[in-house]
Protein backbone atom coordinates (compact mmCIF):
# COMPACT_ATOMS: atom_id res chain seq x y z
CA UNK A 1 0.00 0.00 0.00
CA UNK A 2 1.12 3.50 -0.81
CA UNK A 3 2.79 5.05 2.25
CA UNK A 4 0.80 8.28 1.98
CA UNK A 5 -2.49 6.41 1.78
CA UNK A 6 -1.51 4.19 4.69
CA UNK A 7 -0.69 7.24 6.79
CA UNK A 8 -3.96 8.94 5.88
CA UNK A 9 -5.91 5.83 6.85
CA UNK A 10 -4.08 5.60 10.16
CA UNK A 11 -4.94 9.22 10.87
CA UNK A 12 -8.62 8.65 10.01
CA UNK A 13 -8.71 5.50 12.13
CA UNK A 14 -7.18 7.35 15.06
CA UNK A 15 -9.75 10.14 14.69
CA UNK A 16 -12.48 7.50 14.51
CA UNK A 17 -11.17 5.97 17.76
CA UNK A 18 -11.44 9.39 19.37
CA UNK A 19 -14.99 9.57 18.03
CA UNK A 20 -15.80 6.20 19.60
CA UNK A 21 -14.51 7.28 23.01
CA UNK A 22 -16.37 10.59 22.68
CA UNK A 23 -19.60 8.77 21.80
CA UNK A 24 -19.51 6.17 24.53
CA UNK A 25 -18.35 8.65 27.17
CA UNK A 26 -21.18 11.07 26.37
CA UNK A 27 -23.73 8.27 26.15
CA UNK A 28 -22.50 6.80 29.44
CA UNK A 29 -23.04 3.39 27.83
CA UNK A 30 -22.18 1.47 24.68
CA UNK A 31 -19.57 -0.95 23.43
CA UNK A 32 -16.06 0.47 23.10
CA UNK A 33 -14.07 -2.79 23.06
CA UNK A 34 -15.44 -4.29 19.87
CA UNK A 35 -15.76 -0.86 18.27
CA UNK A 36 -12.03 -0.30 18.67
CA UNK A 37 -11.17 -3.77 17.37
CA UNK A 38 -12.95 -3.37 14.02
CA UNK A 39 -12.56 0.36 13.36
CA UNK A 40 -9.45 0.02 11.18
CA UNK A 41 -11.37 -2.21 8.78
CA UNK A 42 -14.37 0.13 8.75
CA UNK A 43 -12.06 3.07 8.10
CA UNK A 44 -10.45 1.24 5.21
CA UNK A 45 -13.80 0.25 3.71
CA UNK A 46 -15.36 3.71 3.82
CA UNK A 47 -12.26 5.72 2.89
CA UNK A 48 -10.41 3.42 0.55
CA UNK A 49 -12.53 0.61 -0.79
CA UNK A 50 -16.30 1.03 -0.93
CA UNK A 51 -18.05 2.82 -3.74
CA UNK A 52 -20.25 5.17 -1.71
CA UNK A 53 -21.36 8.78 -1.79
CA UNK A 54 -22.16 10.34 1.60
CA UNK A 55 -24.11 13.07 -0.16
CA UNK A 56 -26.33 10.46 -1.77
CA UNK A 57 -26.71 7.73 0.85
CA UNK A 58 -29.58 5.96 -0.93
CA UNK A 59 -27.76 5.80 -4.29
CA UNK A 60 -28.93 2.47 -5.64
CA UNK A 61 -25.59 1.43 -7.14
CA UNK A 62 -23.62 2.01 -3.94
CA UNK A 63 -21.74 -0.70 -2.14
CA UNK A 64 -23.51 -1.78 1.05
CA UNK A 65 -22.18 -2.42 4.52
CA UNK A 66 -24.10 -4.44 7.08
CA UNK A 67 -22.80 -4.15 10.61
CA UNK A 68 -23.95 -7.59 11.68
CA UNK A 69 -22.25 -7.05 15.05
CA UNK A 70 -24.53 -4.06 15.49
CA UNK A 71 -23.46 -3.27 19.03
CA UNK A 72 -20.28 -1.68 17.67
CA UNK A 73 -22.38 1.07 16.12
CA UNK A 74 -20.07 3.70 17.69
CA UNK A 75 -17.33 2.60 15.29
CA UNK A 76 -19.63 2.79 12.28
CA UNK A 77 -20.99 6.20 13.28
CA UNK A 78 -17.51 7.61 13.94
CA UNK A 79 -16.28 6.53 10.51
CA UNK A 80 -19.47 7.69 8.78
CA UNK A 81 -19.24 11.10 10.44
CA UNK A 82 -15.65 11.49 9.28
CA UNK A 83 -16.72 10.43 5.80
CA UNK A 84 -19.31 13.20 5.76
CA UNK A 85 -22.65 11.42 6.21
CA UNK A 86 -23.44 13.70 9.14
CA UNK A 87 -21.56 16.21 11.33
CA UNK A 88 -18.95 14.80 13.71
CA UNK A 89 -20.64 16.86 16.43
CA UNK A 90 -23.63 14.51 16.13
CA UNK A 91 -21.54 11.72 17.72
CA UNK A 92 -22.06 13.26 21.15
CA UNK A 93 -25.78 12.52 20.89
CA UNK A 94 -25.36 8.72 20.68
CA UNK A 95 -28.09 6.83 22.55
CA UNK A 96 -29.88 10.01 23.61
CA UNK A 97 -33.65 10.12 23.19
CA UNK A 98 -33.66 12.79 20.48
CA UNK A 99 -30.69 11.39 18.55
CA UNK A 100 -30.66 9.74 15.15
CA UNK A 101 -27.79 7.61 16.45
CA UNK A 102 -29.41 4.60 18.05
CA UNK A 103 -27.65 2.19 20.37
CA UNK A 104 -27.70 -0.28 17.49
CA UNK A 105 -27.83 0.82 13.83
CA UNK A 106 -31.19 1.88 12.38
CA UNK A 107 -31.48 2.31 8.62
CA UNK A 108 -34.64 4.30 9.13
CA UNK A 109 -33.08 6.92 11.37
CA UNK A 110 -29.49 7.30 10.22
CA UNK A 111 -28.70 8.25 6.62
CA UNK A 112 -26.10 5.90 5.18
CA UNK A 113 -26.85 2.97 7.46
CA UNK A 114 -27.70 0.20 5.01
CA UNK A 115 -29.42 -2.22 7.39
CA UNK A 116 -30.89 -2.13 10.86
CA UNK A 117 -28.97 -4.61 12.99
CA UNK A 118 -28.27 -5.41 16.58
CA UNK A 119 -29.75 -8.84 17.07
CA UNK A 120 -26.69 -10.97 16.41
CA UNK A 121 -26.60 -13.38 13.49
CA UNK A 122 -29.19 -11.57 11.42
CA UNK A 123 -27.05 -9.09 9.50
CA UNK A 124 -25.22 -11.70 7.47
CA UNK A 125 -28.52 -13.03 6.11
CA UNK A 126 -29.64 -9.57 5.05
CA UNK A 127 -26.26 -9.06 3.39
CA UNK A 128 -26.88 -12.27 1.44
CA UNK A 129 -30.21 -10.82 0.32
CA UNK A 130 -28.53 -7.63 -0.86
CA UNK A 131 -25.87 -9.57 -2.76
CA UNK A 132 -28.61 -11.68 -4.33
CA UNK A 133 -30.45 -8.49 -5.27
CA UNK A 134 -27.32 -7.18 -7.01
CA UNK A 135 -26.98 -10.38 -9.02
CA UNK A 136 -30.66 -10.45 -9.92
CA UNK A 137 -30.64 -6.87 -11.17
CA UNK A 138 -27.26 -7.20 -12.89
CA UNK A 139 -25.71 -4.52 -10.76
CA UNK A 140 -22.07 -4.41 -9.78
CA UNK A 141 -22.38 -3.21 -6.23
CA UNK A 142 -20.73 -5.27 -3.53
CA UNK A 143 -21.86 -6.08 -0.03
CA UNK A 144 -19.78 -6.18 3.15
CA UNK A 145 -20.88 -7.76 6.40
CA UNK A 146 -18.97 -7.29 9.65
CA UNK A 147 -19.43 -10.10 12.16
CA UNK A 148 -18.08 -10.65 15.62
CA UNK A 149 -16.26 -13.84 16.53
CA UNK A 150 -18.73 -14.32 19.37
CA UNK A 151 -21.56 -13.62 16.96
CA UNK A 152 -20.73 -16.66 14.85
CA UNK A 153 -22.02 -18.80 17.72
CA UNK A 154 -25.46 -17.87 16.35
CA UNK A 155 -26.79 -20.70 14.19
CA UNK A 156 -28.25 -18.28 11.66
CA UNK A 157 -24.71 -17.27 10.65
CA UNK A 158 -24.15 -20.80 9.38
CA UNK A 159 -27.50 -20.93 7.62
CA UNK A 160 -26.38 -17.80 5.81
CA UNK A 161 -22.87 -19.13 5.22
CA UNK A 162 -24.29 -22.26 3.60
CA UNK A 163 -26.65 -20.21 1.48
CA UNK A 164 -24.08 -17.64 0.29
CA UNK A 165 -21.73 -20.30 -1.02
CA UNK A 166 -24.54 -22.42 -2.49
CA UNK A 167 -25.69 -19.38 -4.48
CA UNK A 168 -22.14 -18.33 -5.43
CA UNK A 169 -22.46 -14.87 -3.92
CA UNK A 170 -18.97 -13.68 -4.85
CA UNK A 171 -20.12 -10.07 -4.46
CA UNK A 172 -20.37 -10.66 -0.72
CA UNK A 173 -17.47 -10.28 1.70
CA UNK A 174 -17.86 -11.15 5.35
CA UNK A 175 -15.39 -10.05 7.98
CA UNK A 176 -15.02 -11.88 11.27
CA UNK A 177 -13.60 -9.49 13.84
CA UNK A 178 -11.72 -12.07 15.82
CA UNK A 179 -10.84 -10.32 19.05
CA UNK A 180 -11.24 -13.49 21.10
CA UNK A 181 -13.55 -12.04 23.74
CA UNK A 182 -17.28 -11.92 24.36
CA UNK A 183 -19.32 -10.60 27.29
CA UNK A 184 -18.97 -13.72 29.41
CA UNK A 185 -15.26 -14.15 28.80
CA UNK A 186 -12.91 -15.68 26.24
CA UNK A 187 -14.82 -17.10 23.30
CA UNK A 188 -12.71 -20.24 23.60
CA UNK A 189 -13.95 -20.70 27.17
CA UNK A 190 -17.59 -19.73 26.59
CA UNK A 191 -18.34 -21.81 23.49
CA UNK A 192 -15.43 -22.07 21.13
CA UNK A 193 -16.08 -21.30 17.48
CA UNK A 194 -12.48 -22.24 16.62
CA UNK A 195 -11.08 -23.01 14.15
CA UNK A 196 -12.91 -20.25 12.31
CA UNK A 197 -11.15 -20.41 8.91
CA UNK A 198 -11.69 -24.16 8.60
CA UNK A 199 -15.39 -23.77 9.36
CA UNK A 200 -15.89 -21.23 6.59
CA UNK A 201 -13.77 -23.34 4.22
CA UNK A 202 -16.02 -26.30 4.97
CA UNK A 203 -19.01 -24.12 4.13
CA UNK A 204 -17.50 -23.33 0.74
CA UNK A 205 -16.07 -19.87 1.29
CA UNK A 206 -12.86 -18.29 0.09
CA UNK A 207 -11.02 -17.63 3.35
CA UNK A 208 -8.43 -14.94 3.92
CA UNK A 209 -6.66 -14.50 7.25
CA UNK A 210 -5.19 -11.18 8.29
CA UNK A 211 -4.27 -8.92 11.17
CA UNK A 212 -7.18 -6.50 11.63
CA UNK A 213 -4.87 -3.60 12.45
CA UNK A 214 -2.49 -3.74 9.47
CA UNK A 215 -3.74 -1.59 6.61
CA UNK A 216 -1.41 -3.38 4.22
CA UNK A 217 -2.96 -6.72 5.11
CA UNK A 218 -6.47 -5.25 5.08
CA UNK A 219 -5.88 -3.75 1.65
CA UNK A 220 -4.47 -6.96 0.22
CA UNK A 221 -7.34 -8.99 1.67
CA UNK A 222 -10.16 -6.87 0.26
CA UNK A 223 -8.44 -6.65 -3.12
CA UNK A 224 -8.03 -10.42 -3.19
CA UNK A 225 -11.68 -10.87 -2.19
CA UNK A 226 -12.78 -8.58 -5.02
CA UNK A 227 -10.82 -10.67 -7.51
CA UNK A 228 -12.13 -13.99 -6.27
CA UNK A 229 -15.00 -15.34 -8.36
CA UNK A 230 -17.59 -18.00 -7.73
CA UNK A 231 -17.61 -18.03 -3.94
CA UNK A 232 -18.18 -15.51 -1.19
CA UNK A 233 -15.09 -14.44 0.69
CA UNK A 234 -14.57 -14.18 4.40
CA UNK A 235 -11.76 -12.22 5.98
CA UNK A 236 -10.94 -13.65 9.37
CA UNK A 237 -9.27 -10.69 11.01
CA UNK A 238 -7.32 -11.27 14.20
CA UNK A 239 -7.83 -8.18 16.29
CA UNK A 240 -7.31 -6.74 19.74
CA UNK A 241 -10.41 -5.78 21.62
CA UNK A 242 -10.06 -2.18 22.81
CA UNK A 243 -7.21 -1.56 20.34
CA UNK A 244 -5.57 1.86 20.69
CA UNK A 245 -6.53 2.61 24.28
CA UNK A 246 -3.98 0.98 26.57
CA UNK A 247 -6.21 0.12 29.49
CA UNK A 248 -9.00 -1.22 27.28
CA UNK A 249 -6.84 -3.55 25.22
CA UNK A 250 -7.72 -7.22 25.53
CA UNK A 251 -9.94 -6.55 28.55
CA UNK A 252 -13.34 -8.21 28.46
CA UNK A 253 -14.60 -5.66 31.00
CA UNK A 254 -14.56 -3.04 28.23
CA UNK A 255 -16.96 -4.98 26.04
CA UNK A 256 -19.91 -2.88 27.07
CA UNK A 257 -18.82 -0.25 29.56
CA UNK A 258 -18.34 3.51 29.28
CA UNK A 259 -15.26 5.27 30.63
CA UNK A 260 -15.63 7.63 33.57
CA UNK A 261 -14.27 11.18 33.29
CA UNK A 262 -10.78 10.21 34.34
CA UNK A 263 -10.67 7.23 32.01
CA UNK A 264 -12.06 9.37 29.22
CA UNK A 265 -9.27 11.91 29.68
CA UNK A 266 -6.63 9.21 29.69
CA UNK A 267 -8.02 7.53 26.58
CA UNK A 268 -8.29 10.82 24.71
CA UNK A 269 -4.79 11.91 25.69
CA UNK A 270 -3.37 8.61 24.45
CA UNK A 271 -5.23 8.94 21.15
CA UNK A 272 -4.27 12.60 20.77
CA UNK A 273 -0.64 11.69 21.30
CA UNK A 274 -0.94 8.93 18.71
CA UNK A 275 -2.58 11.33 16.29
CA UNK A 276 0.09 13.98 16.84
CA UNK A 277 2.76 11.40 16.11
CA UNK A 278 1.00 10.36 12.91
CA UNK A 279 0.59 13.95 11.78
CA UNK A 280 4.16 14.93 12.62
Amino acid sequence: MDAVVRKQLKIKACQARMGIIEEVFNAKSGHPGGSLSCVDILTYLYFQHMNVDPKNPKWEDRDRLVLSKGHVAPALYAVMALKGYFPVEELKTLRKSDSMLQGHPSMKLTPGVDMSTGSLGQGISTACGMALGAKLSNKNFRVYAILGDGEIQEGQVWEAAMYASAKGLDNLVAVVDNNGLQIDGKISDVNSPYPIPEKFKAFGWNVIEICAHSFDEIDAAFKAAAEFKGKPSVIVATSTKGKGVSFMEDQVSWHGAAPNAEQYEQAMSELKAALAELEA
Binding site: S106, K108, M115, S119, T126, A127, A134
Partner: protein
Protein backbone atom coordinates in the same frame (compact mmCIF):
# COMPACT_ATOMS: atom_id res chain seq x y z
CA UNK B 1 -73.31 -19.22 -1.79
CA UNK B 2 -74.53 -20.50 -5.12
CA UNK B 3 -70.99 -21.17 -6.22
CA UNK B 4 -69.65 -24.44 -4.87
CA UNK B 5 -66.00 -23.99 -5.77
CA UNK B 6 -63.72 -25.42 -3.09
CA UNK B 7 -60.09 -24.43 -2.95
CA UNK B 8 -57.43 -24.06 -0.26
CA UNK B 9 -56.29 -20.48 0.22
CA UNK B 10 -52.68 -21.68 -0.21
CA UNK B 11 -53.61 -22.84 -3.69
CA UNK B 12 -55.05 -19.42 -4.48
CA UNK B 13 -51.87 -17.87 -3.06
CA UNK B 14 -49.69 -19.84 -5.47
CA UNK B 15 -51.93 -18.97 -8.41
CA UNK B 16 -52.01 -15.30 -7.45
CA UNK B 17 -48.22 -15.15 -7.22
CA UNK B 18 -47.95 -16.42 -10.79
CA UNK B 19 -50.49 -13.87 -11.97
CA UNK B 20 -48.78 -11.07 -10.05
CA UNK B 21 -45.33 -12.15 -11.20
CA UNK B 22 -46.46 -11.87 -14.81
CA UNK B 23 -47.50 -8.28 -14.28
CA UNK B 24 -44.68 -7.13 -12.03
CA UNK B 25 -41.10 -8.22 -12.69
CA UNK B 26 -39.98 -6.84 -9.31
CA UNK B 27 -41.85 -9.62 -7.53
CA UNK B 28 -39.57 -12.33 -6.18
CA UNK B 29 -40.54 -15.37 -4.13
CA UNK B 30 -38.59 -17.21 -1.48
CA UNK B 31 -39.35 -20.52 0.10
CA UNK B 32 -37.70 -22.78 2.63
CA UNK B 33 -38.03 -26.21 1.04
CA UNK B 34 -41.81 -26.25 1.13
CA UNK B 35 -42.61 -24.93 -2.34
CA UNK B 36 -44.78 -27.92 -3.19
CA UNK B 37 -46.87 -27.45 -0.06
CA UNK B 38 -47.00 -23.65 0.13
CA UNK B 39 -47.79 -23.64 -3.61
CA UNK B 40 -45.01 -21.22 -4.43
CA UNK B 41 -43.86 -24.05 -6.67
CA UNK B 42 -46.20 -22.60 -9.28
CA UNK B 43 -44.22 -19.36 -9.26
CA UNK B 44 -40.97 -21.32 -9.36
CA UNK B 45 -42.14 -23.03 -12.52
CA UNK B 46 -43.29 -19.81 -14.16
CA UNK B 47 -40.41 -17.56 -13.11
CA UNK B 48 -37.46 -19.73 -12.05
CA UNK B 49 -35.04 -16.78 -12.17
CA UNK B 50 -37.10 -14.93 -9.57
CA UNK B 51 -37.59 -17.85 -7.22
CA UNK B 52 -35.10 -18.64 -4.47
CA UNK B 53 -35.13 -21.64 -2.20
CA UNK B 54 -33.14 -21.12 0.98
CA UNK B 55 -33.55 -24.71 2.05
CA UNK B 56 -34.71 -25.60 5.52
CA UNK B 57 -33.51 -22.37 7.10
CA UNK B 58 -36.40 -20.02 7.77
CA UNK B 59 -34.45 -17.57 9.89
CA UNK B 60 -31.97 -17.01 7.09
CA UNK B 61 -34.80 -16.82 4.57
CA UNK B 62 -36.38 -13.88 6.39
CA UNK B 63 -33.03 -12.08 6.47
CA UNK B 64 -32.43 -12.75 2.79
CA UNK B 65 -35.94 -11.44 2.10
CA UNK B 66 -35.13 -8.26 4.03
CA UNK B 67 -31.89 -7.71 2.15
CA UNK B 68 -33.53 -8.33 -1.22
CA UNK B 69 -36.25 -5.83 -0.34
CA UNK B 70 -33.64 -3.11 0.25
CA UNK B 71 -32.53 -3.54 -3.36
CA UNK B 72 -35.94 -2.67 -4.76
CA UNK B 73 -37.79 -5.97 -4.91
CA UNK B 74 -41.23 -6.89 -3.62
CA UNK B 75 -40.44 -10.08 -1.77
CA UNK B 76 -42.83 -12.87 -0.84
CA UNK B 77 -41.24 -15.20 1.71
CA UNK B 78 -43.12 -18.41 2.30
CA UNK B 79 -43.19 -21.23 4.76
CA UNK B 80 -45.66 -22.87 7.08
CA UNK B 81 -47.11 -20.45 9.64
CA UNK B 82 -45.38 -22.40 12.40
CA UNK B 83 -41.95 -21.59 10.96
CA UNK B 84 -42.64 -18.23 9.31
CA UNK B 85 -44.21 -16.62 12.37
CA UNK B 86 -42.86 -18.99 15.00
CA UNK B 87 -39.35 -20.12 14.21
CA UNK B 88 -38.42 -16.89 12.42
CA UNK B 89 -40.35 -14.56 14.71
CA UNK B 90 -37.39 -12.51 15.76
CA UNK B 91 -36.00 -12.22 12.24
CA UNK B 92 -39.41 -10.98 11.11
CA UNK B 93 -39.49 -8.54 13.99
CA UNK B 94 -35.96 -7.19 13.74
CA UNK B 95 -34.85 -7.63 10.12
CA UNK B 96 -38.21 -6.97 8.41
CA UNK B 97 -40.57 -5.22 10.82
CA UNK B 98 -38.20 -2.79 12.51
CA UNK B 99 -36.80 -1.38 9.24
CA UNK B 100 -40.32 -1.65 7.74
CA UNK B 101 -39.12 -3.47 4.63
CA UNK B 102 -41.19 -4.53 1.66
CA UNK B 103 -41.55 -8.20 2.54
CA UNK B 104 -44.78 -10.16 2.40
CA UNK B 105 -44.78 -13.23 4.58
CA UNK B 106 -46.89 -15.88 2.89
CA UNK B 107 -47.62 -18.27 5.73
CA UNK B 108 -49.51 -21.39 4.78
CA UNK B 109 -50.73 -24.36 6.82
CA UNK B 110 -51.95 -22.05 9.56
CA UNK B 111 -54.19 -23.35 12.31
CA UNK B 112 -55.50 -26.70 13.42
CA UNK B 113 -56.71 -27.72 9.95
CA UNK B 114 -53.19 -28.82 9.10
CA UNK B 115 -54.69 -32.06 10.35
CA UNK B 116 -52.65 -35.24 10.39
CA UNK B 117 -49.23 -33.63 10.86
CA UNK B 118 -50.31 -32.82 14.38
CA UNK B 119 -49.52 -30.27 17.05
CA UNK B 120 -45.93 -29.49 16.06
CA UNK B 121 -47.21 -28.10 12.77
CA UNK B 122 -50.59 -26.69 13.82
CA UNK B 123 -49.79 -23.05 14.43
CA UNK B 124 -52.54 -21.37 16.43
CA UNK B 125 -50.36 -18.57 17.73
CA UNK B 126 -49.26 -16.75 14.59
CA UNK B 127 -51.93 -14.03 14.54
CA UNK B 128 -50.98 -13.09 18.08
CA UNK B 129 -47.27 -13.06 17.23
CA UNK B 130 -47.64 -11.07 14.06
CA UNK B 131 -50.18 -8.49 15.13
CA UNK B 132 -47.95 -7.34 17.95
CA UNK B 133 -45.14 -6.42 15.53
CA UNK B 134 -45.37 -2.64 14.98
CA UNK B 135 -46.29 -1.74 11.41
CA UNK B 136 -47.17 -5.29 10.41
CA UNK B 137 -50.39 -5.76 8.46
CA UNK B 138 -52.08 -9.10 9.18
CA UNK B 139 -54.49 -10.62 6.67
CA UNK B 140 -56.37 -13.92 7.01
CA UNK B 141 -58.43 -14.61 3.89
CA UNK B 142 -61.64 -16.63 4.08
CA UNK B 143 -61.59 -18.18 0.61
CA UNK B 144 -59.68 -18.35 -2.63
CA UNK B 145 -61.21 -15.15 -4.00
CA UNK B 146 -60.11 -13.20 -0.98
CA UNK B 147 -56.69 -14.86 -0.91
CA UNK B 148 -56.00 -13.73 -4.48
CA UNK B 149 -57.20 -10.20 -3.72
CA UNK B 150 -55.07 -10.08 -0.58
CA UNK B 151 -51.91 -10.98 -2.50
CA UNK B 152 -52.49 -8.19 -4.99
CA UNK B 153 -53.38 -5.67 -2.27
CA UNK B 154 -50.30 -6.62 -0.25
CA UNK B 155 -48.07 -6.08 -3.27
CA UNK B 156 -49.39 -2.52 -3.56
CA UNK B 157 -48.16 -1.68 -0.07
CA UNK B 158 -44.57 -0.66 0.62
CA UNK B 159 -44.03 -2.49 3.88
CA UNK B 160 -44.41 -5.78 5.69
CA UNK B 161 -47.59 -7.83 5.42
CA UNK B 162 -48.38 -11.18 7.02
CA UNK B 163 -50.65 -13.28 4.82
CA UNK B 164 -52.23 -16.29 6.49
CA UNK B 165 -53.32 -19.22 4.36
CA UNK B 166 -54.74 -22.65 5.07
CA UNK B 167 -54.04 -26.16 3.87
CA UNK B 168 -57.64 -27.34 3.78
CA UNK B 169 -59.85 -26.71 0.75
CA UNK B 170 -62.65 -24.37 1.78
CA UNK B 171 -65.88 -23.36 0.12
CA UNK B 172 -65.86 -20.16 -1.86
CA UNK B 173 -68.02 -17.52 -0.20
CA UNK B 174 -67.16 -14.47 -2.31
CA UNK B 175 -68.13 -13.76 -5.90
CA UNK B 176 -64.93 -13.40 -7.92
CA UNK B 177 -66.65 -11.10 -10.41
CA UNK B 178 -67.88 -8.55 -7.92
CA UNK B 179 -65.70 -8.92 -4.84
CA UNK B 180 -63.96 -5.73 -3.69
CA UNK B 181 -61.10 -6.14 -1.25
CA UNK B 182 -59.77 -3.31 0.83
CA UNK B 183 -57.13 -3.86 3.49
CA UNK B 184 -58.54 -2.99 6.91
CA UNK B 185 -62.14 -2.93 5.74
CA UNK B 186 -64.39 -5.68 7.09
CA UNK B 187 -67.13 -7.09 4.88
CA UNK B 188 -70.67 -7.42 6.22
CA UNK B 189 -72.03 -10.64 4.76
CA UNK B 190 -75.46 -10.49 6.36
CA UNK B 191 -77.34 -8.24 8.67
CA UNK B 192 -78.89 -9.27 11.98
CA UNK B 193 -80.26 -7.68 15.13
CA UNK B 194 -79.54 -9.92 18.16
CA UNK B 195 -75.85 -10.73 17.89
CA UNK B 196 -72.95 -10.15 15.50
CA UNK B 197 -70.62 -12.97 14.53
CA UNK B 198 -67.23 -11.50 13.68
CA UNK B 199 -65.27 -14.18 11.86
CA UNK B 200 -61.95 -14.53 10.07
CA UNK B 201 -60.40 -17.08 7.74
CA UNK B 202 -62.14 -20.40 7.27
CA UNK B 203 -64.40 -19.61 10.22
CA UNK B 204 -66.31 -17.17 8.04
CA UNK B 205 -67.94 -20.08 6.25
CA UNK B 206 -68.82 -21.65 9.62
CA UNK B 207 -70.25 -18.33 10.80
CA UNK B 208 -72.63 -18.28 7.85
CA UNK B 209 -73.80 -21.78 8.77
CA UNK B 210 -74.17 -20.75 12.41
CA UNK B 211 -76.40 -17.90 11.34
CA UNK B 212 -78.80 -20.45 9.82
CA UNK B 213 -78.80 -22.54 12.98
CA UNK B 214 -79.57 -19.46 15.07
CA UNK B 215 -82.26 -18.26 12.67
CA UNK B 216 -84.14 -21.51 13.24
CA UNK B 217 -84.16 -20.66 16.94
CA UNK B 218 -85.39 -17.14 16.36
CA UNK B 219 -82.02 -15.48 16.97
CA UNK B 220 -81.05 -12.95 14.33
CA UNK B 221 -77.30 -12.94 13.78
CA UNK B 222 -75.25 -10.58 11.64
CA UNK B 223 -72.07 -11.97 10.09
CA UNK B 224 -69.01 -9.85 9.35
CA UNK B 225 -65.90 -11.13 7.60
CA UNK B 226 -62.71 -9.64 9.02
CA UNK B 227 -60.09 -10.59 6.45
CA UNK B 228 -57.77 -7.99 7.96
CA UNK B 229 -56.86 -8.49 11.59
CA UNK B 230 -54.44 -5.60 11.70
CA UNK B 231 -55.32 -2.84 11.22
CA UNK B 232 -58.62 -4.03 12.67
CA UNK B 233 -61.78 -2.35 11.34
CA UNK B 234 -62.77 -0.51 14.53
CA UNK B 235 -65.72 1.22 12.93
CA UNK B 236 -67.28 -2.05 11.88
CA UNK B 237 -66.83 -3.49 15.37
CA UNK B 238 -68.24 -0.44 17.14
CA UNK B 239 -71.19 -0.28 14.79
CA UNK B 240 -71.90 -3.98 15.32
CA UNK B 241 -71.62 -3.62 19.10
CA UNK B 242 -74.05 -0.71 19.09
CA UNK B 243 -76.47 -2.36 16.73
CA UNK B 244 -76.67 -5.88 18.14
CA UNK B 245 -75.32 -5.43 21.68
CA UNK B 246 -73.46 -8.75 21.65
CA UNK B 247 -70.53 -10.16 19.72
CA UNK B 248 -69.12 -13.58 19.02
CA UNK B 249 -65.70 -13.89 17.46
CA UNK B 250 -64.56 -16.92 15.49
CA UNK B 251 -61.03 -17.78 14.42
CA UNK B 252 -58.91 -20.83 13.73
CA UNK B 253 -56.34 -19.68 16.25
CA UNK B 254 -55.84 -19.52 19.98
CA UNK B 255 -58.46 -17.47 21.80
CA UNK B 256 -55.50 -15.76 23.45
CA UNK B 257 -53.99 -12.78 21.68
CA UNK B 258 -55.53 -13.30 18.28
CA UNK B 259 -58.52 -11.97 16.38
CA UNK B 260 -61.01 -12.38 19.21
CA UNK B 261 -58.67 -10.53 21.51
CA UNK B 262 -58.31 -7.74 18.95
CA UNK B 263 -62.11 -7.39 18.72
CA UNK B 264 -62.48 -7.49 22.51
CA UNK B 265 -59.88 -4.73 22.86
CA UNK B 266 -61.91 -2.45 20.61
CA UNK B 267 -65.24 -3.32 22.25
CA UNK B 268 -63.94 -2.84 25.79
CA UNK B 269 -62.47 0.54 24.99
CA UNK B 270 -65.42 1.85 23.01
CA UNK B 271 -68.77 0.11 23.46
CA UNK B 272 -68.59 -2.45 26.27
CA UNK B 273 -70.95 -5.27 25.35
CA UNK B 274 -70.55 -9.03 25.79
CA UNK B 275 -67.86 -10.60 23.60
CA UNK B 276 -67.62 -14.38 23.53
CA UNK B 277 -64.73 -15.96 21.65
CA UNK B 278 -64.60 -19.10 19.56
CA UNK B 279 -61.09 -20.39 18.96
CA UNK B 280 -58.59 -22.94 20.19
CA UNK B 281 -58.69 -22.94 23.98
CA UNK B 282 -55.10 -22.58 25.26
CA UNK B 283 -54.09 -26.03 24.14
CA UNK B 284 -52.09 -27.88 21.50
CA UNK B 285 -53.74 -29.75 18.68
CA UNK B 286 -53.31 -33.39 17.69
CA UNK B 287 -53.17 -35.62 14.63
CA UNK B 288 -56.32 -36.40 12.74
CA UNK B 289 -58.29 -35.43 9.64
CA UNK B 290 -58.61 -31.66 9.31
CA UNK B 291 -62.39 -31.50 9.46
CA UNK B 292 -62.43 -33.74 12.53
CA UNK B 293 -59.86 -31.47 14.14
CA UNK B 294 -62.08 -28.46 13.56
CA UNK B 295 -64.99 -30.18 15.30
CA UNK B 296 -62.88 -31.56 18.16
CA UNK B 297 -61.53 -28.11 18.97
CA UNK B 298 -64.88 -26.38 18.62
CA UNK B 299 -64.11 -24.55 15.42
CA UNK B 300 -67.47 -25.14 13.79
CA UNK B 301 -70.90 -23.66 13.23
CA UNK B 302 -72.41 -25.54 16.19
CA UNK B 303 -69.97 -24.03 18.66
CA UNK B 304 -70.34 -20.56 17.16
CA UNK B 305 -74.11 -20.90 17.59
CA UNK B 306 -73.64 -22.11 21.17
CA UNK B 307 -71.41 -19.14 21.97
CA UNK B 308 -73.91 -16.82 20.29
CA UNK B 309 -76.62 -18.03 22.65
CA UNK B 310 -74.31 -17.30 25.58
CA UNK B 311 -73.53 -13.83 24.23
CA UNK B 312 -77.20 -13.05 23.79
CA UNK B 313 -77.85 -14.27 27.33
CA UNK B 314 -75.19 -11.94 28.69
CA UNK B 315 -76.86 -8.89 27.24
CA UNK B 316 -78.35 -6.55 29.84
Amino acid sequence: MADTVKMATREAYGNALVELGGKNDKVVVLDADLAAATKTGSFKKAFPERFFDTGIAESNMMGVAAGLATTGYTVFASSFAMFAAGRAYEQVRNSIGYPHLNVKIGATHAGISVGEDGASHQCCEDIALMRVVPGMIVINPADDVEARAAVFAAAEIDGPVYLRFGRLAVERINNPDTYKFEIGKAVTLCEGSDVTICATGLMVGEALKAKEILANEGISAAVINFHTIKPIDKEAIIEAAKKTGAIVTAEEHSVIGGFGAAVAEVVCESVPVPVVRVGVEDTYGRSGPAVEMLHIYGLDAENIAAKARIAVGLKK
